[in-house]
């Protein structure tokens, strides 16, 4: 399997708080890697460091062997890193289909057109992606009025529209009903198989994590404390301590 992402010794502090300290891990194509840990462990900070929203104090992030530290999010996205957000971020004044079309326009660098209507660009591609995530029927609804779980799926379609090699999903199933969660993650897993994607996701629902991750890394207070297959991580006493509130 080919190595997609190599993270080494990532560090980031906010004021006096060391949010991420010396995190290293790798992500290969075809993997579904779960990043778990209690609230405040530094998961979202990690994500923001990976997609360029934050700049690390130290460490390297290599994407297909290329150092991406210091690049803005839009450049990292063009290199093949898609992202969904913990708190969904879509274009609320556009319809579901237009949201996906917007991404496709960006992929094809058609953002500066002044004449041809945007709504006619890449319509079929957008619809195909929406069908894939089960949002085809709601394509013409404004994004501003969607239920939370549906927004998450729109975000997934938007991320896929960029044809990413790596997908960063920050709590992809938060706010969804249990059935929906399994459905979305099953969809994600099948996308990984179809497209040879590499997925890194954070999640609080342990059923989702242990049901769908191929590998798990555990973060606590900014440090990686365990890494391995779901079974190995489940059995790890350090992980149990963090999650069951044993030793401090």
């Amino acid at each position: 399997m080919s190595r997609r992402l190599a993270v080494e010794n990532l560090q980031r502090a906010f004021g006096g708080v060391q949010a991420v300290r010396g995190v290293s891990f790798a992500l290969d194509a075809g993997e579904v890697l779960a990043l778990i840990g209690p609230n405040g462990a530094g998961k979202t900070t990690c994500f923001n460091l990976l997609n360029g929203q934050l700049r690390p104090d130290a460490g390297t992030v290599r994407l297909d062997g290329v150092d991406i530290i210091g690049l803005p999010p839009r450049r990292i996205w063009r290199m093949g890193v898609g992202r969904t957000f913990q708190i969904t971020a879509t274009f609320a004044s556009m319809t579901v289909r237009e949201n996906v079309q917007m991404v496709l326009l960006s992929v094809h660098r058609r953002l500066f057109g002044l004449w041809t209507p945007a709504a006619s660009g890449f319509r079929d591609e957008a619809m195909a992606l929406l069908e894939r995530v089960g949002m085809g029927a709601q394509a013409e609804r404004p994004c501003g009025v969607l239920a939370y779980g549906d927004l998450k799926r729109v975000e997934l379609a938007m991320a896929l529209a960029g044809d990413p090699k790596i997908l960063l999903m920050d709590e992809p199933t938060a706010g969804m009903a249990p059935g929906e969660r399994q459905e979305l993650m099953a969809l994600t897993s099948s996308l990984v198989r179809e497209r040879g994607l590499a997925v890194l996701f954070t999640e609080h629902d342990m059923d989702v994590v242990f049901g769908h991750a191929t590998r798990i890394i555990v973060l606590d207070r900014g440090q990686l404390i365990a890494e391995g297959t779901p079974d190995a991580v489940r059995a790890d006493p350090k992980v149990q301590a963090v999650y069951l509130g044993g030793a401090a």
Partner: protein, 613 residues
């Protein structure tokens, strides 16, 4: 040496007044998030009321200071009244509607003051006991100004006590930091807001009343002070009292010494200073990121391309307009020519506000640059009209490209203030560069050539050019360019993470909007036959803003409807009564209260409701 000391002291006296007014503005903004244009009107009312009361009671020190206090309290009550009667009904409207409403109040107050006190400057009596001056290192310095210098820190101290040692003040601070949380804790926001408006307006009134012994009270005090107060508030950091105090001191000194060092650019110095501060410190001297106002325009419903019959509405309107010269006389054509030009100006501003969520307070700069670009070519190079009209959008576009590069680096009200700063810079250069621009004499004799000199011919020309530009703006809104601009407004985070360079796109939009406004300016120059610096002054920027807001920002036809409505109203009111500001202001207030989504938004809602039922 002593000369500089006196200059320094007079700078401090200016600073004290600035602080009184801007502290009120920053308190009101901090809690209500309202950009209160009427704050300057309260200052002016304080001065007029102060003048009347001082004339009556001001013979004794007690009477004088009683008059000042009474004027301040009365203005505070008016502020509270504005909150209860007007603003309270608009808290659920888009934030910009509150701004529009306060502008309506500005117009009403101007005419009310002119009606009560007349249009002559009023000289008040000096403060009893403080008439003389003291010698400071052999230079005389007015005693009254010394008192003012002491008053600034005193008010700061009292406000500090109020906000840190009283329950009410604590509530206000809580509401400043988190409005929703404060109301969740059982604070009645309505009562709190009324109180805050009372306090803020009373401070403005106090600042105004204190001017009576210093300067003539006149009808231009309101706009002058509100722009300066905004500069102070922005430089100090929105919502920060201490910041406002420091900024007042700095700007007071800048004004005192700027006139000695750079007499050529006195008018622009304060705005240059603000621009520099904002470029270095994005949220002002003591402001924090989280106090920054959100982007002014909240995302609206999807723009829906017109379908069915409505799709032909623009073409139909154009055809109708083109036929007007067959029936209308010269006067109607002149007015209609102006309407078409202003529609383009409003639509270009709407590109920024409606699609980009970028509220510009200085759009007149590009209108003016276009007008002057055309006029200067005619005057200095005897250029033919087509060349001058081609140069207008070009010069304005270049100006917008330069200013926009700075402006788009900030958002919300900070963006608005930077656009205002650049507009003031352009205006003052035009005003003070006498040799080239003719200063306030303007440039005369910018008439179209014979083939376009007839009113109908020029109207058709305007309709073709402005109509074409309007069509292009409309296409652009539905094209990827407009969508990308909206994407950046809806969620900059998402936009950046799907490869959109939001800032660059906003920059280009700013240039596009600027050059469209420039074309409007060029057309306006030839329509009027002359250009003056007032074309790029604050009132024109505000007019454009009012047109956009009147029409409603959520539709593309809004600005066109708003421009027509505003200009026809203004022309009609001006021709019928001297009190046209009162009429216009009252109409704005009624419109804001009756159609909180703007006229075009209202019509569209009716249309959709009719279709759905």
């Amino acid at each position: 040496m002593s000369f500089y000391l006196v200059q320094f002291l007079s700078g401090l006296a200016t600073a004290a007044t600035l602080f009184l007014v801007s502290s009120g503005l920053t308190i009101v903004f901090g809690v209500t998030r309202i950009v209160n244009f009427a704050h300057g009107s309260f200052y002016m009312l304080g001065a007029y009321l102060g003048w009347t009361l001082v004339e009556r009671w001001g013979g004794t020190p007690l009477g004088f200071w009683g008059a000042v206090a009474a004027a301040s309290l009365a203005v505070g009550l008016l502020g509270a009244l504005m909150e209860v009667g007007l603003l309270r009904r608009l808290y659920r409207s888009p934030e910009l509607f509150q701004l529009l409403a306060t502008f309506g109040v500005v117009l009403v107050v101007q005419d009310a003051a002119s009606w009560i006190w007349g249009s002559e400057d009023l000289l008040g009596r000096r403060a009893p006991g403080l008439r003389g001056s003291v010698d400071i290192l052999d230079q005389p310095f007015p005693l009254y100004d010394l008192v003012l210098i002491g008053l600034g820190p005193l008010v700061l101290g009292l406000l500090w006590l109020l906000f840190n040692r009283t329950r009410w003040g604590t509530l206000v601070r809580a509401a400043t930091q988190d409005r929703d949380m404060a109301s969740a804790l059982g604070v009645d926001p309505a009562r709190l807001f009324t109180g805050v408006l009372f306090l803020g307006s009373a401070l403005a009134g106090l600042g105004g009343a204190l001017q009576v012994p210093r300067e003539a009270v006149n009808l231009h005090m309101d706009m002058a002070i509100v722009v300066e107060a905004f500069v102070v508030v922005v430089v100090g950091g929105m919502g920060s009292l201490t910041g406002a105090f420091i900024a007042s001191l700095l700007i007071g000194q800048l004004q005192a010494f700027g006139i000695l060092v750079f007499p050529q650019i006195t008018l622009v110095l304060v705005f240059l200073f603000m621009a520099v501060v904002l470029v270095i410190r994005p949220y002002g001297l003591l402001g924090r990121a989280e106090d920054a106002p959100p982007t002014a325009a909240s995302p609206g419903p999807p723009l829906i391309a017109a379908t069915g019959v409505a799709r032909w509405a623009p073409a139909l309107l154009l055809a109708l307009l083109a036929a007007v010269p067959l029936v209308a006389g010269d006067y109607a054509l002149i007015v209609l020519t102006e309407v078409v030009i202003l529609a383009l100006l409003a639509a270009s501003l709407h590109l920024l506000i409606g699609l980009g969520g970028l509220v510009s307070f200085g759009h007149a700069a590009y209108f003016g640059l276009g007008a002057y670009g055309a006029a200067l070519l005619v005057k200095h190079f005897a250029a033919p009209m087509p060349m001058a009209l081609a140069a207008a959008p070009l010069l304005a576009g270049l100006g917008a490209l330069a200013a926009g590069w700075f402006c788009v680096r900030r958002s919300g009200l900070y963006f608005a203030m930077l656009t205002l700063a650049f507009a003031q810079i352009v205006w003052s250069v035009t005003f003070q560069w006498y040799g080239v621009t003719g200063g306030d004499n303007g440039i005369l004799g910018v008439w179209p050539p014979d083939w376009a000199a007839g009113k109908a011919a020029y109207y058709w020309l305007t309709l073709a050019l402005a109509g074409g530009a309007l069509l292009l703006l409309r296409r652009a809104a539905f094209a990827p360019f407009g969508y990308t601009l909206r994407a950046g407004r809806d969620s900059a985070l998402r936009a950046e993470s799907v490869g959109i360079d939001v800032r660059r796109h906003q920059w280009l939009s700013f240039a596009l909007a600027g050059s469209a406004a420039g074309l409007a300016g060029g057309l306006y120059a030839f329509a009027k036959g002359s250009v003056f610096p007032t074309l790029m002054a604050v009132p024109v920027s505000v007019d454009a803003l009012v047109m956009v807001l009147m029409g409603g920002i959520q539709t593309l036809s809004g600005p066109v409807a708003g421009a027509a409505l505003f200009h026809l109203l203004e022309t009609e009111a001006m021709s019928r009564t001297d009190w046209w500001r009162l009429v216009l202001g009252a109409v704005i207030l009624v419109l804001v209260l009756a159609f909180p989504k703007g006229v075009a938004g209202f019509v569209r809602d009716l249309w959709t409701r009719g279709r759905d039922s």
